[in-house]
């Protein structure tokens, strides 16, 4: 397709975890995974909890050894220090040494990258500013920081040395919608700057917005890989959810008769229409009958639907 070089190359990567007494039981967390991440793209590794995303990332970083298969970053082994010098990593939860302050921690890491004193103080100030950590927070021990602030410090340490590749394990984890929006903006800006980003997330809809390509992982297996548009072209087909008020009982009944799922509490009625065409008809109908429509939301994005279908298909025909 494009002539851009591959930054991450994974071939037949497999990881078995041993468990139980004498480690006799084996559990395959990643199963013959093959994929390539190209320079300058945002690549999303998607899958529900337990799909094997974190295991894959730990294999990319050589925090664990593969049972079989290979990983190359920048054409080199992942433990190569030249690779590490180009790489920023954000773990699943921002695990950081709690006794240090953000500034001390970043200065420490800056030394590990061989930055001079003046480079360090400039870079530390810059990345703290970029992730929105004010000086008053930067000089407090990390154990006193809120979860959101810790997440920001996590991003700051990944960015510190201006790496070419960012590996982010669940960057949206534990963030509120505003926080997610901000992370989305950062990711897009870093791609503009030419960075390659490999991220994992269970949030398909979030990835659909920003990823150039995604891989769908389920029980350690790759179900599909490609751009969101290739995998699931946007259509008008998806189910929609309508929130409404002031619906007469007979209106609810006739909505049910049209094939909608209707649930009501004291004030709010939630109507699920099987597809958007029926949804808009339902909206017209509610208005004509004197009801008030508060919101209309797509229930599942195209990629979410694609993923669910792929999971169902893989369950129906075990490979």
């Amino acid at each position: 397709m494009s002539a851009r070089s591959a930054i991450i190359v994974v071939e037949n990567l497999t990881k078995d975890y041993a468990s139980g007494w004498l480690a006799h039981r084996r559990h395959r967390a990643v199963d013959r995974l093959t994929l390539e991440v190209k320079e300058g793209e945002i690549f999303g590794l998607l899958g529900p909890n337990g799909a094997g995303k974190t295991t894959t990332i730990k294999l990319l970083l050589r925090l664990i050894r593969p049972t079989s298969g290979t990983v190359r970053l920048f054409g080199r082994l992942p433990e190569d220090r030249l690779v590490r010098a180009q790489l920023g990593f954000l773990p699943e939860h921002p695990y950081l040494p709690e006794a240090l302050t953000a500034r001390e921690l970043l200065d420490y890491f800056g030394r590990l990258f061989g930055l001079s004193r003046s480079d360090r103080s400039a870079r530390v100030a810059l990345v703290l500013h970029q992730v929105g950590i004010p000086a008053s927070v930067a000089d407090r021990p990390l154990r006193q920081l809120s979860r959101g602030e810790l997440a920001r410090v996590g991003f700051a340490q990944a960015l510190l040395h201006n790496p070419k590749l960012l590996i982010l394990d669940d960057p949206f984890g534990g963030l509120d919608p505003e926080g997610r929006r901000q992370v989305r903006d950062w990711l897009l800006r870093w791609r503009e700057e030419g960075k390659t980003i490999f991220l994992s997330t269970p949030l398909v809809a979030e990835a659909e917005i920003i990823c150039d390509r995604v891989a769908l992982l389920h029980r350690g297996r790759l179900l599909a890989c490609g751009s969101p548009a290739e995998l699931a072209p946007p259509t008008a087909q998806g189910a929609v959810e309508i929130l409404a008020r002031d619906l007469a009982p007979q209106t609810r009944e006739s909505l049910r008769a049209r094939g909608c799922d209707v649930r009501a509490d004291r004030t709010l009625v939630r109507i699920c229409a099987p597809a958007s065409a029926e949804g808009w008809e339902a909206v017209d109908f509610i208005r004509r009958s004197g009801g008030h429509v508060i919101a209309v939301n797509p229930l599942r994005s195209p990629l979410e639907r694609f993923f669910e279908d792929a999971v169902t298909a893989s369950g129906a025909s075990p490979a």
């Binding site: 730990k58 970083l61 925090l63 773990p91 040494p97 006794a99 590990l112 990258f113």
Partner: protein, 265 residues
């Protein structure tokens, strides 16, 4: 050349950060405070036994510095690494361009600096106590300083052992194992004596192996000499230092091998 130099800088960075972290551990102050309390108590005991003040203050004070120095070494030695592994902060560190053995060495150096400061603080307490007991503390310095220096070396061995255990074990288990090894280390001479008397050559070999594997704590304890006013010669200090350095190198190599192979799941 440049590569070696940058390695030194990374080791120094790890040492600085880990001594900073340990400096904020409350347990450090608890242990140092406890030692100072014990040393202060020696003053009271000394008052009760007329004519014996010096002996009692030195016995109790040096004992407190030694025991609490070793306790500190084990507790902090385990915290150096295992805490970071248990809390998974190690994930980020190990994805930085630093070698695993550099992390170990840096952490040990950071811990060693902190132990040095603690031993120095406790020794200061002992000197104050001597002064309070009306002893000419300046005259005691040539006797005391070598003894507490060797205590520091002892505590370094304990810390390295704690670090070694925490490369492959949990923190509780590491603390207990290191403590056990240090306690048996006080009796390591016995193993040498047994090696002479047992019949089976295999058993004798085993006894000798134990003798060399255990940290030889008793050989580094010169409390009695100091109390009796015997000076410790430079050659003894030199030999003891060489022994400790050799011991540390071997333990660090083992720790590096264990740490290198470890998975962080």
């Amino acid at each position: 050349m440049w590569a070696h130099f940058s390695g030194v800088r990374r080791i120094a960075a790890v040492a600085l950060a880990s001594s900073r972290e340990l400096l904020r551990e409350r347990i450090l102050y608890v242990l140092v405070g406890f030692a100072l309390l014990l040393i202060g108590t020696a003053l009271l005991l000394g008052e009760l036994s007329v004519g014996q003040e010096r002996r009692i203050v030195l016995d109790v004070g040096l004992g407190a510095i030694r025991v609490l120095g070793i306790a500190m070494a084990i507790v902090l030695g385990v915290r150096l690494l295992e805490r970071e592994i248990e809390r998974r902060a190690i994930y980020i560190l190990l994805t930085k361009p630093v070698r695993r053995w550099e992390v170990l060495l840096g952490k040990l150096i950071g811990g060693a600096l902190l132990l040095f400061a603690s031993v120095a603080a406790m020794t200061g307490g002992l000197l104050l106590t001597l002064a309070a007991a009306g002893r000419p503390w300046r005259e005691e310095l040539p006797l005391l300083l070598p003894v507490v220096f060797l205590f520091w070396l002892q505590s370094l061995m304990a810390m390295a052992i704690a670090l070694l255990f925490s490369t492959f074990s949990t923190s509780t288990l590491s603390t207990l194992s290191a403590l056990g090894l240090v306690l048996i280390g006080h009796a390591s001479r016995e193993f040498l004596q047994w090696a002479e008397v047992v019949r089976s050559p295999l058993l004798a070999l085993l006894c000798r192996a134990f003798y060399y594997a255990l940290p030889n704590m008793q050989n580094l304890n010169f409390t009695a000499a100091a109390v009796h006013g015997r000076e410790i010669t430079l050659s003894i200090i030199g030999m003891a230092s060489a022994y400790v350095v050799l011991y540390l190198v071997v333990v660090l190599i083992l720790a590096a091998i264990a740490f290198h192979g470890r998975e962080f799941r």
